[in-house]
């Protein structure tokens, strides 16, 4: 089947087998190897990307279902060489070790913040329930997400606001 998917701002048209999963399409055809595969049961969240502005586990979506859609991967987050505030917060808070879960964690965290711009610890933990990390014990991830929320909060400074509205238009409001 022929599909057209916009990935990180660039449109790609390809023939794909109906059974091809979005994650394999992204990795093998589009070359977005920043999105990784950690399991075969949709439990780990390592493959999380944004599909039309909402986080999905790209191993549980068929490539054909993404036809005509916009996909944002970890590789499309930084704009003009500027890291997304969530990426920055992960670095600042040492929220990663081996980094294998990190792309999925960051994509999920951005979606979570779009839904709830000021989550408490419990909300962050619950919002990340579908993403497994074996290295960090999650504590610094939780800290990073709350720190990013703080950075992105309106009133946290012009830079933070610019980035926040950027995120909102890409994630939350940019949806349907």
């Amino acid at each position: 089947m022929r599909i057209t998917v916009t990935v990180d701002g660039t449109s790609y048209t390809d023939d794909v087998e109906p059974r091809t999963l979005l994650v394999h399409h992204l990795r093998e055809r589009v070359g977005k190897v920043g999105t990784v595969v950690g399991c075969d049961t949709s439990n780990c969240g390592a493959c999380t990307v944004h599909l039309d502005g909402h986080s999905v586990k790209s191993c549980s979506v068929l490539a054909v279902q993404a036809d005509g859609c916009e996909v944002t991967t970890i590789e499309g987050l930084a704009r003009d060489g500027e890291l997304h505030p969530v990426q920055k917060a992960f670095h600042e808070n040492h929220a990663l070790q081996c980094g294998f879960c990190t792309p999925g964690m960051i994509m999920q965290s951005i979606d979570l913040l779009a839904d709830n711009p000021d989550p408490d610890e419990k909300a962050v933990r619950e919002g990340l329930e579908g993403n497994l990390c074996r290295c960090t014990g999650y504590q610094n991830i939780v800290r990073a997400v709350r720190d990013a929320a703080h950075q992105m909060r309106p009133g946290a400074g012009p830079e933070a606001e610019r980035l926040a509205s950027d995120t909102a238009s890409r994630v939350g409001a940019g949806g349907e």
Partner: protein, 812 residues
């Protein structure tokens, strides 16, 4: 004038590694695509024990995209030795040959029997279904005691037994202590307990993968491995290849925890197939494959006997272990229980000690190193039985520990197991932990809840621990019959512009070596942190190394870096003297500059780097290079320690456990990067807590792993864990120039007993004195129910026991 530069060591530097990891520009093995590359998929046995009657691959060979199909008969004979085991713990250890692919008998469910090579991974996977294997099922043996029972089915018929090896340490025999049987005969209290270490899955997040390219003059293997150097040597040895024709690259590796310490049959078959076909091949496993085919961890039965006087002084410890090796021996598998032998006595002064372990074969996936390897098992056993002894003696469990531990002023201290602990301050760590935890306040609340019969009971769990890090002094490894040494290598290259490349043999998989090594070198050479690049994980650039496991990277590999940096300075000094026309003795080095004492004449490392490169004006006979290399072989282990305190709430109506707070104070000596240390502790805690509460690899009666995916194997998520309060004390190690002790495994080692002790403490007044891990709500609830029923049914006997436990448990 020298400028004052803030030292890098001790600073919570944000990691250099992060940039590529947070932007998706990481090099995972599975990202690699080479021209003409083919893909492998392995067919795995569904049976735990069976004869292979026949394998028909005709249909698979003609499936779409398929290039070749191989069975064990085609591939395995090319390795005379089979998969290697590097740790023959006794001269008579039985080491059955583990084939690259089974061709005759399969011995565990998940063992490979055939491999398909196809143009795409999906085609290779599809063709597996077209392979027809005829199996003749054999009786399966599972469970350590079953395996040793009379008439048990044998995993390896030709050995005539499932017993692999027996290894013994006895303090009376070794001259490190007195006879434990005397202690048992003559002590006022003798307490026996049996604990079980359930089988765990290391569950690194990146599944294993390798790519082999045979097309150049050297064969190149990329692998998601923890041990590129060992893998290179072992590949050569296993397949009879000239070692200089093999290069191994471990690019970014997504976690290991000991689980990627193995040399894999898949790596060997990939190499053989790539050579035969003359094309690059890739093998990447699915998570379900990882669960059955990558080695598991733990799986022991521990029988402990502790003896003491009524005043609480311990007098002896006897440990008898059964350890499940699975169906074959892993690379270091047989040695894992032995590492525990040195840690069962922990921080306590036992006059007598006896340790014996029996390694056993069963029809399961093999076991091997998993975070802590032997030390978490040992710490669990001793910390659980110390709690039980406290109850028996009517003492506060903390008081019992304090009474028996090595006092700060007694270091260095040689233990009954024969190790010399160089430094430690258990008092300081404990005092800090108790304060952060509010130990006394929580004990008060516990008492109130007990008295009011609250449906949610509170328990306090203690684990005061030490471990041996920095594996390992080569001589010690030799005395334990391990095949290799424990040194580490480092090289420092000073580039013409004064920038630095540091090459380390300790390849990282998430521990932040690039950052920590940069901090060390920045301080030593006085160059900016940013001017240093750390290179690792490629046997070509880092030609020597012993890799990363056993918390050895910093305390062995980091010291090699320190030594190499010292050599750079030693080479630079005569050149500096020559350039400044002074005597070497007049020079001092500080903050990257050699200066003539008492003057402001100075020359920087960068100046010298250029002078060396141009070589226009060097002293006679001096090599035009500042590059230096060195190895470090530790003379002793290092011994991090700490006090972990856990408060657990147990809902007595549902059995649900909630960790209310977790406080730990670890002493890892000097922390090069406190941020990284904290992260390692957090991750370690999560893994240890998961053993206590969530994780277990379970087989059904036929030997099928019923917890074979992340849907059934309960890796905790963020929602399952609390936030931890972590802090440190700093008692430098006296046996290395950094004063560092290592931290990678501490959290895992200490936390499992802390959590289990807390849960037992919460329900002890019901008569519960043990619950098998993981402490699922069902198990906790059953334990309470069972004891409550026993109390009613058994009358005075159980009642009497409860009475005495109540009295001691409540005594504060």
């Amino acid at each position: 004038m020298t400028s004052t530069i803030e030292p890098e060591v001790g600073k919570s530097r944000r990691r250099k590694e992060d940039e590529r990891l947070i932007t998706g520009r990481t090099r995972w093995t599975d990202n690699l695509t080479l021209p003409g590359m083919l893909h492998l998929a392995v067919l795995r046995s569904p049976f735990a024990h069976a004869k292979i009657v026949s394998i028909d691959v005709t249909e698979a060979k003609s499936a779409p995209g398929v290039v070749a199909v191989y069975t064990g008969k085609d591939l395995d004979p090319e390795s005379a030795i089979g998969m290697p085991c590097a740790w023959p713990i006794t001269p008579d250890m039985k080491s059955p040959r583990r084939p690259i692919l089974a061709s005759d008998t399969v011995n565990f469910a998940g063992e490979g029997v055939a491999v398909v090579v196809a143009r795409t991974a999906a085609e290779a996977q599809d063709a597996l279904e077209a392979i027809d294997v005829d199996y003749d099922e054999l009786p399966v043996v599972l469970g350590l005691e079953n395996a040793l029972a009379e008439g048990a089915p044998l995993v390896h018929e030709e050995l005539g037994t499932n017993q692999n090896a027996v290894w013994v340490f006895d303090s009376a025999g070794a001259g490190t202590g007195s006879d434990v049987e005397d202690a048992i005969a003559n002590s006022e209290v003798v307490l026996k307990r049996r604990f079980r270490q359930q089988r765990l899955v290391p569950a690194f997040m990146e599944p294993r993968a390798c790519v082999v390219d045979p097309t150049g003059s050297q064969l190149v293997m990329w692998s998601a491995t923890q041990v590129p150097h060992i893998l290179k040597t072992m590949t050569a040895a296993t397949l009879g290849l000239p070692e200089h024709k093999v290069r191994v690259i471990a690019p970014d590796v997504g976690g290991g925890f000991g689980g990627k310490i193995a040399v894999l049959p898949e790596e060997m078959m990939s190499t053989l197939i790539a050579q035969r076909l003359g094309k690059p091949v890739k093998w990447t496993e699915s998570r379900s494959e990882t669960m059955v085919a990558a080695h598991h961890g733990r799986d022991q039965i521990q029988d402990l006997t502790i003896t003491a006087n009524r005043d609480g002084t311990v007098t002896g410890l006897k440990v008898e272990l059964l350890a499940d090796m699975g169906a074959y021996l892993g690379l270091v598998g047989p040695g894992v229980p032995i590492l525990g032998a040195f840690m069962f006595n922990a921080i306590y002064k036992f006059p007598a000690y006896h340790f014996a372990c029996t390694n056993v074969f069963t029809n399961t996936t093999l076991t091997d190193a998993y975070r802590g390897a032997g030390r978490p098992e040992a710490t669990f056993g001793i910390e659980r039985i110390m709690d039980e002894l406290a109850v028996e003696l009517g003492m506060d469990p903390m008081e019992l520990r304090e009474k028996n531990w090595i006092k700060h002023e007694e270091f260095p201290f040689t233990t009954v197991a024969g190790l010399t602990y160089d430094s430690g301050n258990y008092e300081a760590a404990t005092a800090k932990a108790k304060e952060l935890f509010d130990y006394d306040g929580l004990r008060r609340e516990q008492k109130e809840r007990r008295e009011s019969g609250d449906s949610v009971q509170l328990g306090i769990g203690i684990s005061t621990f030490t471990e041996m890090c920095g594996l390992a002094p080569s001589r010690v490894l030799g005395s334990l019959d391990y095949a290799a040494g424990g040194w580490e290598h480092a090289e420092i290259r000073v580039l013409p512009t004064g920038k630095i490349e540091v090459i380390t043999g300790a390849s990282a998989h998430g521990q932040g070596h690039e950052t920590a090594w940069s901090q060390i070198v920045a301080d030593k050479l006085g160059v900016p942190f940013e001017d240093i690049e750390v290179i690792h994980g490629d046997t070509q650039s880092s030609h020597k190394g012993m890799d990363t496991y056993g918390s050895r990277s910093l305390v062995v590999g980091g010291i090699a870096v320190v030594k190499a940096a010292d050599k750079v300075l030693a080479k630079a000094k005569p050149i500096a003297a020559h350039l400044m026309e002074c005597a070497e003795d007049d020079l001092e080095f500080e903050a990257g500059k050699f200066s003539v004492k008492g003057t402001d004449s100075a020359t920087s490392i960068q100046d010298i780097a250029w002078a060396v490169f141009s070589a226009h004006n060097l002293p006679d006979g001096v090599e035009p290079s500042l590059d230096s290399a060195d190895t470090f072989d530790p003379e002793n282990f290092s011994f991090p320690h700490g006090t972990h305190l856990c408060a657990a709430e147990v809902d007595t109506e549902t059995g649900r456990v909630r960790l209310r707070s977790y406080v730990c104070v670890d002493d890892v000596g000097v922390a090069v990067n406190p941020l990284i240390v904290e992260g390692q502790v957090h991750g370690g805690l999560a893994q240890g807590i998961a053993q206590a509460l969530f994780e277990e690899a379970v087989h059904d009666e036929g030997g099928t792993l019923t917890t074979g995916t992340f849907a059934d194997y309960l890796l905790p998520s963020a929602a399952d864990l609390p936030s931890f309060t972590t802090d440190r004390t700093e008692t430098p190690s006296t046996t290395n120039p950094l004063g560092a002790k290592g931290v990678g495994e501490a959290g895992t080692i200490a936390s499992t007993p802390a959590v289990v002790n807390a849960v037992i403490d919460a329900v002890r007044h019901f008569g519960v004195d043990d619950i098998e891990m993981p402490l699922t709500p069902m198990r906790v609830w059953h334990a309470i129910q069972h004891q409550t029923a026993a109390e009613g049914g058994l009358g005075s006997e159980a009642g009497g026991g409860l009475g005495s436990i109540d009295a001691t448990g409540g005594a504060q």
